[in-house]
Amino acid sequence: MFEVGLIHYILLSTALFCIGLLSVIISKHLIRVLIGVEFMLNAVNINLIAFSNYLDLAKLDGNLLALFVMAIGVCELALGLAILILIFRRTQSVNADEQNSFRG
């Protein structure tokens, strides 16, 4: 019988993290970059809950912390989208490589 263990959760979260990282690195569109960031955040969250479930049975510290992380993730996404809209208004473009006005 296929037994689901800690290692599978970790594999899942690693896969999700890598997909998110890849999305951040290679995509040109800023919204894809944001989605990639969310992927990475959620991968970390899964990791957190898995460890909490398998190693810290009695207390629910890890689960509680995951709720906080989700709330912060939503806030971050809202902020990121707001910045993205401002960038779009200013430059009329959502291409990540064209946003080079900070370069010295």
Partner: protein, 631 residues
């Protein structure tokens, strides 16, 4: 009385205050009355003169007692530098001479500079010079002396180049400064070497580092701690300072050029006070110099060579100021000669009388030049006695004194001659006799050319103002009588250890006969009324000698053609070295920094994705590293 002696430093500080006042308040003074500058400067000098007279009277009434006060100025490790004042016979005498001469010259300068645009700057510089000179005289230790020594040089530089728009002035100022640098550097090296040799003494037994009042035991310590040759080298380096400042033989070339400055400056700085600072410093350092007989010989022979050189070159000068400048060089050489043979008080006595009569001669020359609209060539003067009798008669007093015919100059020269005779060096004695005869000849040559005979010039003669003639009359008094008054007292007042009395009765008679003979000789050459021989005819058989004197013993040409050339070559090579080696090395370090920046720039030029990838890769490496450390 007591409070004046305790606050004698005011004498030096007040001129500094006036200097700052004039420099910063020029616009306000100009709005009120320009004379205020002169009144301020002369006023503080008068205060200084009163203070110095009090100090002098204290020193006369309390012989061998000194007043000294020092304050710690800065301490570096074990070295503790003090700043303070020292009142003894020497400094009180110098204070009186400097203050009295500069007071008269400041009053005189008013009418000399009245039409000049830079009237205030002139008086500001004069006040600054007074500050430096009086600080030099009052200083209680060698370091302080060195500081003021340099300040005096700066004042001299500023005043020689007072008309800096004239090319000759600017060049002369630079020349004076550079030549003086050589001597000052020698003095600095010598001071440091002396401090090094006698450091144990200063550290354990004296509270004022290099203080003059304990120089004698320190010199003995230094003499023991090294070989006699090493001590000679140290003393010689210190002696270089006075050589440059007092325009002695190898470094005398700056003084004649310094005559480019205004004439009152030539009188004050380049005849009466600053150039005498060299003799003053020798007197201060006498405890060191006297321990090395070879060094005393060097001083004496330097003085003798300079005396002959100055006197012979003065014979052939046509520019009145140049002639007087060379005579100053010659007289300073006389003082050095006296110091070198051990006639300490005679040298200083000559310093005092020379300050008065040479200032008088220069001021007379200035009055003549001023009233002839800046004509300095004596060939275009003549017959001026009827036009400006006061100037002519005061000049005559100065000339008699300078030539050693009866007046002050006679007494002081006589002292020097007897000092040389007492030392037993007949060669130097003959040189001194010859020089004193020459000096009588050339000074009367100028007198006859300027004031007697027919007027040979073409320009109009202006009147001499009261501000000019009054200082001349006042200066004529000390030039005439100081010698007779102080001849005996001075020896007892200022002396150094032994004084060998000389009782050669014929000496005054010989010297006066030589002086009068020289005056007669000058009169048959240059006095139109009694002219027997035309000087032009004498030039022909002696034309090689004449050429030698006109070219100033070929020393300037030697410097120009050889020393300057070698120096320029060396400077060129060094600049090449600088550009090819040092600059290149610095360029290399700059370029390597640039290259690192370029390399870093390569990373930064990519897109955001690359940044993220780089940081993730670095993060992975870092965490792998940490994990491996934990295991």
């Amino acid at each position: 009385m007591e409070s004046i002696l305790q606050n004698i430093w005011i004498v030096a500080i007040l001129p500094l205050w006036v200097f700052l006042l004039i420099i910063f308040g020029q616009i306000y003074i100009e709005r009120m009355d320009r004379k205020i500058s002169m009144y301020l400067t002369a006023g503080v000098t008068l205060v200084g003169l009163i203070f110095s007279l009090v100090a002098l009277s204290y020193c006369i009434s309390n012989p061998t007692s000194t007043i000294e006060e020092n304050a710690l100025w800065l301490s570096v490790g074990n070295l503790k530098f003090s700043i303070g004042y020292l009142i003894d016979e020497l400094s009180s005498m110098m204070l009186c001479v400097v203050c009295s001469v500069s007071l008269l010259i400041q009053v005189y300068s008013h009418s000399y500079m009245e039409k000049d645009d830079c009237y205030h700057r002139f008086f500001a510089y004069l006040a600054f010079f007074n500050f430096a000179m009086l600080g030099l005289v009052l200083s209680s230790n060698l370091f302080q002396t060195y500081i003021f020594w340099e300040l005096v040089g700066v004042a001299s530089y500023l005043l020689i180049g007072f008309w800096y728009k004239k090319n000759a002035s600017a060049k002369a100022a630079q020349k004076a400064f550079i030549v003086n640098r050589i001597g000052d550097f020698g003095l600095l090296l010598g001071t440091m070497a002396f401090l090094y040799l006698s450091y144990n003494f200063w550290f354990y037994e004296a509270d004022v580092l290099l203080g003059f009042s304990s120089l004698k035991p320190a010199a003995e310590v230094a003499l023991v701690s090294t070989s006699s040759l090493g001590f000679l080298a140290v003393g010689f380096l210190m002696f270089l300072g006075p050589v440059a400042k007092s325009a002695q033989f190898p470094l005398h070339i700056w003084l004649p050029d310094a005559m480019e400055g205004p004439t009152p400056i030539s009188a004050l700085i380049h005849a009466a006070t600053m150039v005498a600072a060299g003799v003053f410093l020798i007197a201060r350092l006498y405890p060191i110099f006297i321990l090395s007989p070879q060094l005393m010989h060097i001083i004496a022979y330097t003085g003798a060579i300079t005396a002959v050189l100055g006197a012979t070159v003065a014979l052939v000068q046509y520019d009145i100021k140049k002639a007087l400048a060379y005579s100053t060089i010659s007289q300073l050489g006389f003082m050095f000669l006296a110091m070198g043979v051990g006639a300490y008080s005679a040298g200083l006595f000559h310093l005092m009388t020379h300050a008065y009569f040479k200032a008088l001669l220069f001021l007379c020359a200035g009055a003549v030049i001023h009233s002839l609209s800046d004509q300095q060539d004596m060939r275009y003067m003549g017959g001026l006695r009827k036009k400006m009798p006061i100037v002519a008669y005061t000049y005559l007093v100065g000339a008699l004194s300078m030539g050693g015919v009866f007046l002050s100059g006679f007494s002081s020269k006589e002292e020097i001659l007897s000092g040389i005779l007492a030392s037993g060096n007949m060669f130097l004695f003959c040189v001194a006799l010859l020089t004193s005869g020459l000096s009588a000849f050339y000074i009367f040559r100028t007198y006859f050319m300027v004031f007697e005979g027919q007027y040979r010039g073409s320009c109009d003669i202006h009147k001499v103002s009261k501000f000019m003639s009054v200082p001349l009359i006042i200066l004529a008094i000390p030039s005439a009588i100081f010698g007779a008054i102080f001849a005996h007292g001075f020896k007892n007042f200022i002396s150094f250890g032994y004084y060998s009395e000389n009782n050669f009765v014929f000496l005054p008679i010989i010297s006066i006969i030589i002086a009068i003979f020289s005056v007669w000789l000058a009169s048959i050459f240059y006095w139109d009324k009694k002219k027997i021989i035309d000087p032009e005819l004498v030039k022909i058989p002696f034309r090689f000698l004449y050429k030698f004197f006109v070219e100033k013993w070929f020393i300037e040409i030697f410097y120009e053609k050889i020393v300057c050339k070698i120096y320029k070559k060396a400077a060129y090579l060094l600049s090449k070295f600088d550009r090819l080696v040092i600059d290149k090395a610095i360029d290399l370090s700059a370029k390597s920094g640039f290259a690192v920046g370029q390399m870093l720039n390569l990373i930064q030029k990519k897109s955001i994705g690359v940044y993220v990838l780089t940081s993730v890769i670095l993060l992975v490496i870092l965490s792998a590293f940490i994990i491996s450390m934990l295991n």
